[in-house]
């Protein structure tokens, strides 16, 4: 799902590449998805991450909501970057993000009500997701609208993928299911995603509870470090630098 939605804008942006100043789209994509991933490299946004990833569906829901906010805040901050002065930039960024989050919250409550009942508590927390303010400050306020939107999209997709991965691991080990209640989020057409991996599974409570989130995140981070090291030795320098950002 997320990979598909990610590819379309990338293609459109790619077509503009020739007549614009050189923007390294591939670099932005790789930063967002892997090298400078919100969670894996920047270790940001851990509070909502650990709170909602009891199931893959919840992770996907919060990930998509964060993604929408990231893209829109990227666009707005970039559009207003000529107006905003350094002295008042932080209040303006926070105002933009908080407004967007409130609108997403209202929209989900109205049109994705069942999911909102599960995630409702965490949606306002997107405001405090420092990754969004971080991207506004570090990228959107210094780049044109298209790259800023693309950066928000890639950072959002990267965040969503980690949320889904973590949710899937915890759900599979903790409840023996995968994508339970996915039809609440994606409509009945996606009900086939709801899988019971282990029938009559008694459950492994620890994985559903917050400690399980920390454990799974730890293994995920370790796994990413390993992967960064293994196949391409020349990337080692980049991998060593990434965690410090």
């Amino acid at each position: 799902m997320t990979a598909d939605t990610g590819s379309t804008p990338a293609d459109q942006d790619g077509a503009e590449r020739t007549d614009r100043a050189r923007t390294d789209w591939a670099r932005i994509a790789r930063d967002g998805l892997w090298d400078n991933n919100v969670v894996l490299a920047q270790s940001l946004a851990l509070c909502p991450l650990l709170a909602v990833t009891g199931t893959a569906t919840n992770g996907l829901g919060l990930g998509l909501a964060s993604l929408v906010v990231m893209v829109l805040s990227g666009v707005l901050v970039s559009a207003a970057r000529g107006l905003i002065t350094p002295q008042v930039r932080i209040p303006v960024f926070v105002l933009i993000i908080a407004t967007l989050v409130t609108l997403v919250d209202l929209a989900m409550n109205a049109w994705l009500h069942d999911l909102h009942k599960i995630l409702g508590l965490f949606i306002p927390l997107i405001v405090t997701n420092c990754a969004i303010l971080g991207r506004a400050e570090a990228f959107a306020s210094r780049n044109r609208i298209a790259p800023a939107a693309f950066d928000g999209l890639m950072m959002g997709v990267g965040f969503t993928l980690v949320l889904v991965a973590l949710g899937a691991v915890r759900e599979a080990l903790g409840s023996g299911t995968l994508f339970a209640n996915a039809s609440l989020l994606l409509g009945d057409a996606m009900a086939f995603l709801e899988t019971t991996l282990i029938p009559d599974y008694r459950g492994f409570l620890l994985m559903i509870l917050p400690p399980g989130g920390f454990l799974a995140l730890g293994f995920l981070l370790a796994g990413q470090r390993l992967l960064k090291r293994l196949p391409l030795p020349k990337r080692r320098a980049g991998a060593a630098a990434a965690p410090s950002t």
Binding site: V88, V92, L103, A107, N109, A110, H113, L205, I208, L209
Partner: protein
């Protein structure tokens, strides 16, 4: 730049203040629009939720009215209690209201349906924050424990036996979680006691109220 004088200096207070003010105004406008657009759908969703829960605790066969249409406000010790009445013709077939128990991790909200004779028609947990895997067996989706209350009344079992087995009562507790079922048992017992104490008001006045409603075509939302 044709900006007014006070805004020409981008580092000056005039520009900064205008900038912040303009952004705040734009944000406020967006929020007002968003609220206006979503207010209706949100209210509908919440009514749907409530109606779905009410259908669970009051069998549809018992009544012929819209449970949500005419809620009653019953004055009890800790503030007015919203009571949804199930009417068969003019008779009150049952009532439903919310009771709250203090669980292991905060309040447990239970919707309780009671028939006119004071027997439990059904009980469903609306919201709780109990431990997943231990305390959440109070949800009907996870365990049929809460169905054990169907048909119970203050006389069945005797008041002293309205407790979990560990406390000498008749209701099962869960292994690893006693506080949660105890809270639910107490809440439901409390609800039945509320019904017993206000039985006349809950059953008799509903008939009168329905008659007034039928006279006035658009009378809604009775407040006592």
């Amino acid at each position: 730049m044709n900006l007014p004088l006070f805004m020409r200096d981008r580092d000056g207070i005039g520009y900064q203040a205008t900038l912040l003010g303009a952004f705040t105004l734009a944000a406020a406008a967006l929020l007002v629009t968003g609220d206006l657009v979503t207010r209706g759908p949100i209210a509908e969703r919440e009514a749907e939720d409530l109606r779905a829960s009410l259908t669970e605790v009051i069998p549809a066969a018992l009544h012929d009215n819209d449970l949500l249409a005419n809620p009653m406000r019953l004055p009890v010790a800790d503030g007015p209690l919203t009571v949804y009445r199930a009417l068969a013709g003019l008779d009150v077939a049952g009532v439903a209201f919310e009771v709250v128990g203090q669980g292991y991790a905060g309040p447990i909200r239970v919707l309780l349906g009671i028939d006119a004779d004071g027997r439990v028609l059904g009980a469903r947990v609306l919201a709780h924050a109990e431990t997943p895997g231990l305390g959440d067996k109070i949800e009907v989706a996870r365990d049929d424990w809460i169905l054990d209350f169907d048909g119970r009344s203050l006389a069945d079992p005797a008041p002293a036996r309205w407790a979990v087995k560990k406390d000498g009562g008749v209701f099962d507790q869960f292994s690893g979680a006693t506080i949660t079922p105890r809270a639910v048992v107490d809440a439901i017992k409390g609800g039945l006691e509320t019904f017993a104490a206000h039985r006349d008001a809950l059953t008799a006045s509903a008939v009168l109220q329905t008659q007034t409603d039928q006279q006035g075509t658009d009378a809604r939302g009775t407040v006592r």
